[in-house]
């Protein structure tokens, strides 16, 4: 007996698109989400969707959410986690545990893991950035929240800042922390936020301290060049080493490596460009399902260029940031591929009726 239903674990951008895709192909979908609302981290953190139009992620994800919630083939389980798992391609069995403790046994033919990421905790960084010490040291996520509310201020005073900087690669590309990978999105997000700050607070000077600016595709001209040419954001090659407090202001200290010159600059707000780490859900689900994970806990997808979503276990696929840092477009593209591959794997197994 072969089961053609697909279990999607995680209801963020990748999970929503995977569920919609598999259901549109005619499979029944069980979508499990541990939060009380579908939409994932971009929704709960209030990002802007990182596409050409920069619409708020909540607005974009509402479309994806409605597509899933109104689909006759998708059953959604909110505030639910997978608590046990067994079986093989065509006949997996999972126990779903709801917030009230109710257990539900479900069976499915294939699984798509879309359990996403967390933001790097800047308390873990090895520099003296003092995220938990200085009120005016914030993260990209904190800045995004203020920018979405169109009110960018110094947290300590509530006043508009005169001087703001971003420090790139916090928690990424760092052997000491153990996160050697690039988180991919922080250069783009920081530059977009820098432009937005310049628009909201026109007399505020904005700096970005970077090691390499990694601006792919349209990010180069639509985000990076715009920030430089139109918004006059100052890009300085060299990473800030430490932040100290002098009086009521922060002073950042680093090196302008192109000029071979030390710099000490007073700042009103310092934004730490924190990268991505696997979510607790990604680490736990990967382990429970027995799929290969890298040393950080990200789920390792197939190394074939023609299959970006297969895991080490037949019938289990991965989509989105559970497989490593990604922007929203890539998460959604990957989810479409995972839905197609999962449904195809099940259909191929079904007896062909003549």
């Amino acid at each position: 007996m072969s089961d053609e239903s697909v279990l999607v674990i995680g209801g963020g951008p990748a999970g929503l698109e995977a569920a919609r895709g598999a259901a549109d192909l005619g499979s029944e979908v069980i979508l499990v989400e541990q939060r009380a609302r579908l939409g994932g981290t971009p929704d709960s953190a209030g990002y802007s969707a990182f596409a050409l139009d920069h619409r708020p992620a909540q607005e974009v994800l509402e479309i994806a959410r409605q597509a899933v919630l109104t689909h006759p083939l998708v059953r959604v389980h909110l505030e639910t986690e997978v608590s046990s798992f067994a079986g093989e391609l065509g006949s997996f069995r999972a126990t779903l545990k709801a917030a009230d403790g109710t257990l539900t046994e479900v069976s499915c033919g294939a699984v798509i893991i879309a359990t996403g990421f967390d933001h790097f905790d800047p308390g873990r960084e090895t520099q003296s950035y003092g995220y938990y010490e200085f009120e005016d040291v914030i993260t990209l996520v904190d800045a995004e929240r203020m920018l979405q509310a169109k009110n960018f201020v110094r947290p300590s005073t509530g006043e508009p800042p005169k001087q703001v900087c971003f420090i790139q690669c916090v928690g990424s590309r760092d052997r000491r922390i153990g996160n050697e990978y690039c988180s991919k999105v922080c250069c783009g997000v920081a530059t977009k936020e820098a432009s937005e700050i310049r628009e909201l607070v026109p007399d505020c000077r904005v700096f970005i301290f970077y090691i390499d600016m990694r601006m792919y595709g349209f990010w180069e001209d639509r985000i990076y060049w715009k920030a430089q040419e139109q918004d006059h954001v100052n890009f300085v090659r060299g990473i800030v080493t430490e932040i100290t407090r002098r009086g009521d202001r922060l002073v950042i200290k680093g090196e302008d490596t192109t000029m071979n010159r030390p710099m000490e600059i007073p700042m009103d707000v310092v934004v730490l460009s924190v990268g991505m780490v696997p979510s607790e859900g990604t680490k736990a689900v990967g382990k429970m399902l027995g799929v290969a994970q890298d040393k950080h806990g990200f789920i390792v997808p197939s190394e074939s260029a023609l299959d970006t979503v297969a895991t080490s276990v037949p019938g289990i696929y991965v989509a989105g940031a559970a497989a490593g840092p990604k922007d929203l477009d890539d998460c959604v593209s990957m989810a479409g591929s995972a839905a197609m591959k999962a449904v195809a794997a099940l259909r191929r197994r079904s007896p062909v009726s003549v």
Binding site: R176, I211, E255, N260
Partner: protein, 421 residues
């Protein structure tokens, strides 16, 4: 500042590159073509040296530069060393090789783990082998080889300070017997007049605490950790083996030393040569015993404290000396803005102790002078230290920065002693 071999700049009518003349009008932006020629193998020559591989990891982020104490007084940091070497400067013959004090602050902030603590000793070893060592450092090496201490003092005078310690001190070479604590005095407490002051204060404190302890006396030789960091691995191994053989002849339960460099070598280097000891720094040994001391006076001083690099960053101990200062009655304590993990270096480590003239020719001021100005800035009247290199370094720096009368330098044990008498 630092003379590096700059790239040679040529101007050519015709540019011939790998046998091809590429000077066609289509490729000519200016009448005279400017060509930068540098030796790209210089970096390979460094990173091929075992221990120096990680210099190749640098991705030029620049985080080390503000952390490097030498850059504050010159033009220097691991990033700059990497870039100069990449551009063809020969590190083995460059002054850059000797300015690093192996303080370890760059490694603390380096995302790629470029490890100067390994790179510097390894590359310096090549320079030592080639006989290319600043003369004053060479003298310290020779003294250590000949006399067992870098100052060239006779071994028989090593325990002379004991005579007027004001408390009995067991010298095991004269009076061999099992002791609880074997106190490894090290060279600067054994010979330097201000070091001897601290050694005597320590002896009086141990007497009051009733500790069963002794010293090796004339048989003790330099632990040689700084000679190792300065590139003399062969000398280090030879003297370390002599010390290990000497220590083997005496019975003791633990080793205590006032020198963070000696502490580092007993903890991290001697075990590799078979010398395994239960070793503590004297501040770690004394901090838990402070509550037992019968204080007789309050010391009405405002003090600040300098973290030794080899106690703090190298071995993670920041609390023990602060705990001692906290328990000495009457002291008011204030931190310098650079302290603990980010503590500034006194300039004495990694051979810097024996390179003062050399470093002076390549930097604006001594690290110890800069540190003294930071201490004065806090409003403290006393700079408290717990490394034998530091009393003399900082007292010299107090004079040379014109702060005489404004700042005193004291070993923490001298304050303990003062409050006990």
């Amino acid at each position: 500042m630092t003379e590096i071999e700059k790239e040679r700049i040529h101007e050519e009518e015709h540019l011939v590159f790998e046998g091809m003349d590429i000077s066609g009008h289509w490729n000519r932006m200016f009448e005279q073509r400017v060509v930068w020629e540098h030796d790209v193998s210089a970096l390979d020559r460094v990173t091929e040296i075992p221990g120096a591989e990680s210099l190749a990891y640098c991705y030029q982020c620049g985080k080390c530069t503000p952390a490097c104490p030498v850059d504050h007084v010159g033009d220097y940091s691991p990033r700059k060393i990497y870039r100069r070497t990449q551009l063809g400067a020969d590190l083995v013959s460059s002054p850059d090789l000797w300015l690093c004090t192996t303080c370890g602050n760059c490694l603390r902030v380096c995302p790629k783990e470029v490890n100067l603590l390994k790179i510097m000793p390894a590359v310096r070893e090549q320079a030592v082998a080639a006989g290319n060592v600043p003369p004053e450092l060479q003298k310290a090496f020779e003294n250590t080889f000949q006399y067992g201490n870098p100052m060239g003092e006779p071994a028989r005078k090593r325990a002379d300070w004991v005579a007027d310690a004001g408390a009995p001190v067991t010298v095991l070479s004269r009076d061999p017997r099992p002791v609880d604590v074997l106190f490894f005095v090290e060279c600067y407490w054994a010979y330097h007049p201000r070091g001897r002051d601290a050694a005597r204060a320590f002896a009086r404190t141990m007497e009051i605490l009733g500790i069963d302890w002794g010293i090796l006396g004339s048989e003790e030789k330099c632990s040689c950790d700084s000679q190792r960091a300065a590139g003399e691995r062969g000398l280090f191994e030879m003297v370390a083996e002599q010390n290990i053989a000497t220590l083997k002849r005496y019975q003791f339960t633990r080793l205590v030393t006032p020198d963070p460099h000696a502490y580092n070598s007993f903890r991290n280097q001697y075990p590799k040569l078979g010398g395994v000891y239960d070793v503590t720094h004297y501040t770690q040994f004394l901090a838990p015993l402070m509550a037992k001391l019968p204080w007789v006076r309050e010391l009405p001083y405002r003090v600040t404290f300098h973290d030794p690099c080899y106690l703090g960053r190298h071995n993670g101990e920041y609390d023990a000396p602060r705990e001692m200062i906290r328990q000495i009655p009457g002291l008011e304590f204030v931190e310098m803005f650079r302290c603990k993990e980010n503590g500034y270096c006194c300039g004495g480590g990694g051979g810097g102790m024996w390179l003062d003239s050399f470093s002076g020719n390549h930097t604006k001021e001594r690290l110890s002078e800069r540190r003294v100005r930071e201490a004065v800035e806090t409003g403290a009247e006393m700079l408290v230290v717990c490394c034998p290199y530091e009393v003399s370094r900082f007292e010299d720096a107090v004079k040379s920065t014109g702060n005489e009368g404004k700042l005193l330098v004291r070993d923490v044990i001298e304050l303990v002693d003062e409050a006990l008498h």
